[in-house]
C-alpha cells in the first residue's frame, strides 16, 4: 500500500529527519531567538524573562557592531573569493587534466588536511606568520616581510582552513561537465580561455556557490582563528562569544547571533536561485 500512496511513503521517510531537524534544531534556534528578546541581569548573568527589544536596539545603534558586521561579511567574502580562485584551477586540473591515478592521489591530498585539527592548523599559521617564522625567513632576504598578525593573517589562515571545502564541491561539479561540451566549444572555435570562461565556469558556477556556502559560513562564525592570528581585530563570532561565553550575556549574544543567521539565510536563498543547493 506504500506503493500506492506515495504521499504516505514520503511522509514516513521524512518523519525521522524532520523530527530531528525540525524539532530539535529549529526548536533550538527558535528558543535562541526568543532568548534574544529577553534581558539579563548584567551582574549575575541570570536571564530575566522580560520582553524587550533593547538588545536589538543596542545592536543597531552602537556603531561598532555595524563596523564589525561589515568587516566580518567582508572577510568572509574575501576568504570565499580567495578560496574560489585557488580551488577552481585545482579542481579543473583534477577533473579534466589529471590521469585517473593522479586524480585519486589529489583527492587524498586535498582531503587529508581536513583531519589535522583546526586549532593545530591555526597555530601552525601563527608560527608561519610570526616575525621569525618561515614566511619572514624566506621573505626577508627579498626585502619583504610577513604580513604579521591582523586581518590579512586572518584571511590567509581562514582561506587555508576552508580551502578543501571549496575544492571538493567544485571538483565534483566539474566532473559532471561532460567532456563533449568542452570539445564542442573548442570545435566552434573557442580557445582554452574562451571555453573556460563561457562553458566551464558557468557550468561549474553552482558548484562554486555550493562551496562558497561552506567557506562563507565557516568564516562568518569564526572566532578562534581571529584570536590566534588576528592581532587586535575582532569579528562577529568574537562578539557572540564574548557576550555569551565570556560576558555571559546570553540574550545579547543571541541577538548578535541573529546577524549571521539572517546573512546566511539570505545567502542560501540566493544560492538556491543558481541551483547550488543541489550541488553541495
Amino acid at each position: 500500500m506504500l506503493d500506492r500512496r506515495p504521499g504516505l511513503r514520503v511522509g514516513l521517510l521524512l518523519t525521522p529527519p524532520m523530527l530531528w531537524l525540525g524539532v530539535a534544531y529549529l526548536g533550538a534556534l527558535a528558543a535562541l531567538l526568543v532568548t534574544s528578546l529577553w534581558t539579563q541581569d548584567d551582574f549575575t548573568g541570570n536571564i530575566e524573562r522580560i520582553w524587550t527589544l533593547d538588545n536589538f536596539r543596542q545592536l543597531f545603534t552602537v556603531d561598532v557592531y555595524r563596523t564589525i558586521t561589515l568587516r566580518t561579511i567582508g572577510i568572509a567574502a574575501l576568504v570565499t573569493v580567495v578560496d574560489a580562485v585557488l580551488a577552481f584551477p585545482i579542481a579543473l586540473y583534477m577533473a579534466k587534466v589529471a590521469s585517473p591515478r593522479t586524480q585519486r592521489l589529489l583527492v587524498i591530498a586535498v582531503l587529508t588536511p581536513l583531519w589535522a585539527s583546526y586549532l593545530v592548523k591555526a597555530y601552525a599559521w601563527r608560527g608561519m606568520l610570526s616575525a621569525d617564522g618561515p614566511i619572514a625567513w624566506i621573505a626577508n632576504p627579498f626585502g619583504l616581510d610577513t604580513p604579521g598578525y591582523g586581518l590579512p593573517a586572518v584571511i590567509i589562515t581562514l582561506s587555508y582552513l576552508w580551502l578543501p571545502y571549496m575544492i571538493l564541491p567544485v571538483y565534483a561539479g566539474l566532473e559532471r561537465v561532460p567532456d563533449s561540451l568542452l570539445e564542442a566549444s573548442s570545435d566552434l572555435g573557442g580557445g582554452s580561455w574562451t571555453t573556460i570562461r563561457r562553458v566551464v565556469l558557468p557550468m561549474a558556477f553552482p558548484a562554486l556557490v555550493a562551496g562558497s556556502i561552506f567557506t562563507f559560513s565557516l568564516s562568518l562564525g569564526d572566532y578562534i582563528t581571529v584570536q590566534i592570528v588576528g592581532g587586535t581585530s575582532q569579528l562577529l563570532g568574537n562578539v557572540v562569544y564574548d557576550n555569551q561565553g565570556a560576558a555571559n550575556n546570553l540574550p545579547f549574544a543571541a541577538a548578535v547571533a541573529t546577524v549571521p543567521i539572517v546573512v546566511m539565510v539570505v545567502y542560501l536563498a540566493l544560492a538556491r536561485r543558481v541551483g547550488a543547493l543541489e550541488d553541495l
Binding site: E183, D187, G189, G190, T194, R198, V199
Partner: protein, 354 residues
C-alpha cells in the same frame, strides 16, 4: 571537386591495446558528401575526432586542404562537428548555443543574431530560440547541434550519427534537408552512420569501416553492386552468399558469389526454365518464411543445394496473401549470371548468409 578537403596519411590511433584506427589513408574531396559506415566500435567516431582535433593520432598526418593540422588544436581547425551526444550547452538558450561559434569569433551582435536565427530556421526550429535545451526532445536537440555547426559555415562539417535518435519519418525528412543544405552551402560533409540506407541515399562516396580499417571505399552504386568482400556485401544491404559446394552446384564454378535479393526471380516449380540458358542461374528450393515489409515482401528460400536465400519483391501487383500461400511450397529461383558478384577473398570462418 578536384581539390582535397581532408587527407589522412597513415593515421593510427591506439587506446592501450585497442587499435581503434589502424594505418588509415583517406582523401576526401572538397564539397563531397562523404559517409563512414560500419558496425559499432569499428572506429568511425575516432576518425572523426582525429579530424576535429579531439584526439592526437598515434601515428600519421592529417591535412585540411593543404595544411598539416596534425598538431593543431581543435579550435584552430576550420571544421565543425555535430556530436553523437549533441553536446548542447545546457546553460545557454537554443539561440545562444547557435550563436556561440560566432560569438567566440567576435562577430557583431546583430549579424550573429541574424545568422543564428536563419540557421535555426534551416533546421526547422524557427520559434525555439529562447528555449532551454532541457525543454527540447532528442530530435530537436540534434537539430540545434546541426544549426550550431552550420552557422559557422565551416569548410568541413563532421556529423556523428546526427539522425540516430530520430524516427524514420523525421529521419527521411532530415536526410533530404541535410543533403539540400550540403548542396546549397557546398561544404564538405563527413557523415558517420551505421544505417546503410542512409549512407546509400545521401553520399557521394562511402567508406565501409571494419575494425579500424576501411574495407571498401566507393560510390554507393559500386558499393552495393560490386562489394569487395563478404563483410561489405553483408553490411551494405541484404545479400545472399554462395560458396563451396553450393557455389559449385548452383553457379557451376568454384568461388564465393554474392547475389542481391531483389535480383532474384521466384517462380513455381512447374514453371519451365531454360536451364542455364541465356546466362541464367536456376536453383530450386522450399519457401521457409515470408516477411511483409510494406513496400516489398521478402521470401526466405532453403535451396536444395544447401544454403538459404532471401528474395525480395516489390508489392506492386501480388497481394501479400498470395505470397504467404507460398510458405513451405517448392519454388524455383532464377537470376542473371551477370548479377552475380564474385568475391576475391574466401569466406573463411564467417557464416554470414542472412
Amino acid at each position: 571537386m578536384t581539390a582535397t578537403a581532408i587527407s589522412l596519411r597513415g593515421v593510427s590511433k591506439h587506446f592501450g591495446p585497442v587499435r581503434a584506427v589502424d594505418e588509415l589513408d583517406l582523401e576526401i574531396a572538397d564539397g563531397e558528401f562523404f559517409s563512414m559506415l560500419g558496425p559499432s566500435g569499428s572506429g568511425k567516431t575516432t576518425v572523426l575526432r582525429l579530424i576535429a582535433g579531439f584526439e592526437d593520432p598515434t601515428a600519421g598526418t592529417i591535412l585540411l586542404g593543404e595544411d598539416d593540422v596534425t598538431r593543431r588544436p581543435a579550435f584552430a581547425r576550420d571544421v565543425n562537428t555535430v556530436f553523437q551526444d549533441y553536446a548542447i550547452f545546457p546553460h545557454m538558450t537554443v539561440l545562444q548555443n547557435v550563436e556561440y561559434g560566432l560569438r567566440v569569433k567576435k562577430v557583431a551582435k546583430a549579424e550573429r543574431r541574424q545568422r543564428a536565427t536563419e540557421a535555426l530556421e534551416t533546421v526547422r526550429l524557427g520559434g525555439y530560440g529562447e528555449r532551454r535545451p532541457h525543454q527540447l526532445s532528442g530530435g530537436q536537440r540534434q537539430r540545434v547541434a546541426l544549426a550550431r555547426a552550420l552557422v559557422n559555415r565551416p569548410k568541413v562539417l563532421l556529423l556523428d550519427e546526427p539522425l540516430g535518435a530520430l524516427d524514420l519519418k523525421l529521419r527521411r525528412e532530415m536526410q533530404i534537408e541535410l543533403k539540400e543544405i550540403q548542396r546549397e552551402v557546398g561544404i564538405t560533409f563527413v557523415f558517420v552512420t551505421h544505417d546503410q540506407e542512409e549512407a546509400l541515399t545521401m553520399s557521394d562516396r562511402i567508406a565501409v569501416f571494419n575494425e579500424g580499417r576501411i574495407e571498401q571505399l566507393a560510390t554507393p552504386v559500386e558499393l552495393y553492386d560490386q562489394p569487395a568482400s563478404a563483410f561489405v556485401a553483408g553490411f551494405v544491404g541484404t545479400s545472399n552468399l554462395l560458396h563451396g559446394e553450393a557455389a559449385r552446384q548452383v553457379v557451376g564454378e568454384d568461388g564465393t558469389f554474392v547475389i542481391r535479393p531483389e535480383k532474384v526471380g521466384l517462380g513455381p516449380e512447374s514453371q519451365d526454365v531454360p536451364a542455364d540458358a541465356a546466362g541464367l542461374c536456376v536453383a530450386p528450393g522450399v519457401v521457409r518464411e515470408v516477411v511483409y515489409l510494406g513496400a516489398s515482401t521478402s521470401t526466405v528460400v532453403e535451396l536444395d543445394a544447401g544454403p538459404t536465400m532471401t528474395v525480395s519483391h516489390p508489392n506492386t501487383d501480388t497481394t501479400i496473401d498470395a505470397a504467404l500461400e507460398r510458405r513451405e511450397q517448392r519454388v524455383v529461383l532464377t537470376w542473371r549470371r551477370d548479377h552475380l558478384v564474385r568475391l576475391a577473398e574466401p569466406v573463411a570462418t564467417e557464416k554470414e548468409t542472412a
